[in-house]
């Protein structure tokens, strides 16, 4: 779960990482009041999309009146398909240098890794690889002072700035570990006359660990369908093609989409309803898909932990209760295959055993429709 900048900064403040003085506002009037208090300000749209600045979602204002005008404009903007409900109004800070600092998990090393570059402020992908210091941290040891000193040596940093790093890095590491973050990124980390200040905050919390962080608000910038799918605990991604796809397992669902494309069709979605779903959950997945008005429905089941009879039962139930009047291509093999096929036959549905046949049939159905 990605956190809005203001929530990330609230976490930073909790861990004694300096952030600019600021107010979260929900109206242009409140922005005006905040600016009257703070003086010269920066107004930042609280949306999750990157590149807010380039799109005009960030503005400077030197008076309260100007802050109001800019806030009105930003509230009306759509950024990445979403309008901001909140803005962050912050004092304008005096920046001498912009630094990039992040903690994330390196899957290959199986460890947290510190990323630092003195070329901050720009998109991280634009930072040249050789200008980025990477330091993996063994979790049984934690982030020690010597590591920060070595990172500083490699960066060519000494004196007061090194002292600032020695204070700040362990705090960010503690936040990263305790808050179950996938990413804790400060870009830019601003060097000001008063020391280091986090001018931005990009914090992503591990969805699988949210149960340990009940105090965090739940943030959702998703389409209604993606939200429904989330409630059903389905992996669902909307795409813009014509063939609705439902399969069990992320890899085989992806492979099914690839095969749809291979045979000249276009997938309408990615829907992995997981392993071992019961009739109820399978029916709900199916109903969700039918709600998207696809032109053809393609179901690809290779039953391992998932049982073919359960999927077939769910299908025939939905067919009976809601009616399924679009063309369907069904592939069914694996655990309890014979039982599943019998249920489908009763419901008047022919099923394939080969994935290639089922997918190419689905594409044929699309061409006929």
């Amino acid at each position: 779960m990605k956190l809005y900048e203001y929530l990330g900064k609230e976490l930073f403040a909790r861990y004694d990482i300096p952030v600019p003085a600021g107010r979260v506002v929900e109206s242009a009037e409140q922005a005006e009041e905040a600016a009257a208090e703070l003086g010269e300000v920066v107004i930042k749209s609280q949306v999750l999309t990157g590149k807010r600045g380039k799109a005009g979602g960030i503005a400077f204002a030197s008076s309260a009146g100007e802050a109001r005008t800019e806030a009105e404009r930003i509230f009306k903007m759509e950024l990445g398909g979403f309008k901001a409900e909140k803005l962050l109004v912050e004092e304008k800070i005096q920046i001498e240098q912009e630094i990039y600092l992040a903690l994330t998990v390196d899957g290959t090393a199986q460890k947290p890794v510190v990323l630092v570059s003195l070329d901050g402020g720009m998109d991280v992908e634009d930072v040249p690889e050789e200008r980025m210091i990477r330091w993996p941290v063994d979790v049984t040891v934690g982030l020690q002072g010597f590591m920060v000193r070595e990172i500083c040596r490699q960066l060519g940093v000494s004196g007061d700035l090194q002292k600032e790093f020695i204070k700040l890095l362990p705090r960010l590491y503690r936040l990263f570990r305790e808050m179950d973050a996938e990413l804790a990124e400060i870009n830019p980390l601003a060097l000001t006359p008063g020391g280091l200040v986090a001018a931005d905050a990009k914090v992503t919390i591990d969805d699988d660990a949210l149960y340990r962080h009940k105090d965090l608000p739940r943030i959702r910038e998703k389409t209604d369908l993606e939200l429904q799918a989330e409630e059903l605990d389905l992996a669902y991604v909307e795409l813009d093609g014509d063939i609705a796809v439902m399969a069990n397992g992320a890899g085989i669902t992806m492979a099914t989409l690839d095969m749809v494309q291979h045979y000249g069709g276009t997938p309408a979605n990615f829907l992995d309803f997981g392993g071992g779903a019961d009739v109820e959950k399978t029916s709900q997945s199916l109903e969700l898909l039918l709600g998207t008005d696809p032109r053809v429905l393609l179901i690809n089941i290779f039953g391992g932990i998932t049982r073919c009879d359960v999927v077939a039962e769910a299908f025939s139930r939905v067919k009976e209760s809601k009616g399924i009047d679009l063309p369907v291509s069904f592939r069914l093999v694996g655990t309890n295959e014979a039982e599943g096929r019998a249920i489908l036959e009763k419901a008047g549905i022919k099923s394939f055993t080969s994935m290639e046949e089922a997918v190419s049939h689905a594409v044929d159905l699309l061409k006929q429709s």
Partner: protein, 290 residues
Amino acid sequence: MSIYINDQTRVLVQGITGNQGSFHTGQMLKYGTRITGGVSPGKGGQTVEGVPVYNTVFEAVENEPVDASILFIPAPFAKDAALEALAAGIKILVLIPEHIPLHDAADIMAQARINNAVVVGPNTFGLVSSGASKIGIMPNQYFIPGPVGVVSRSGTLCYEIVGHLTENEIGTTTVVGLGGDRVVGLHFIDVLKEFESDPATKTVVLVGEIGGSAEEEAAAFIKSSMTKPVVAYLAGKSAPPGKRMGHAGAIIERGRGTFESKVEALNGAGVKVADLPGEVPALVKEAAGK
């Protein structure tokens, strides 16, 4: 021959009294896996499918030595159970559950490194040495002995491909599921190394997907250190960037981890990449014939 496990491997099932645990204990026994005990705190003294249940892992290993443990434990409690197995000296852990928190996985791997233990998963179907021992949840009938080693990031897709091999009467030595999470124990390279030195494995099939750099790293290893032929299939050719396709790792971020870069790296290492899962057996035959 096989890698990691064989018909002598003694297996413990943690979480044996749960639905999944008891069902798959039965399935593994049917396959021929040598299961010597199970653990379920508070349920010690019972039996499941004739297998004795203990309260703790330490109690289990006091009664019967254990080589490997498979975990059917709800994600929030998986770290505790995995650390218990490592502390009790078990050297192979198979972590079936999905949704184990990322930092818990990092903690488990750190302890496993200290203990020189092998971790398969999390979010994996496990591993099977065909005809000898299955420590996992894959359907029994597709895993017949033969000369091909298979390593995969995803589960059902791996069954699909092994199913095609079986249809063509091509059996497998060992099939290893790495797991779909961002932090997993075994990586392609670890398993490729084992296949390279396993005399029974003649050809290797690698099943990958978009996201991350595991396939590129595997390609570099194949190029520098492998003599056996490798055939690959990759999922996610049609996936749009920035969307997480089910697996935590399956996402194209910042232009990295694309299908094209993986195919290019693998082709550069002499690995043929099948367009469709059904083409894998022909590529395996072709590679073996050389």
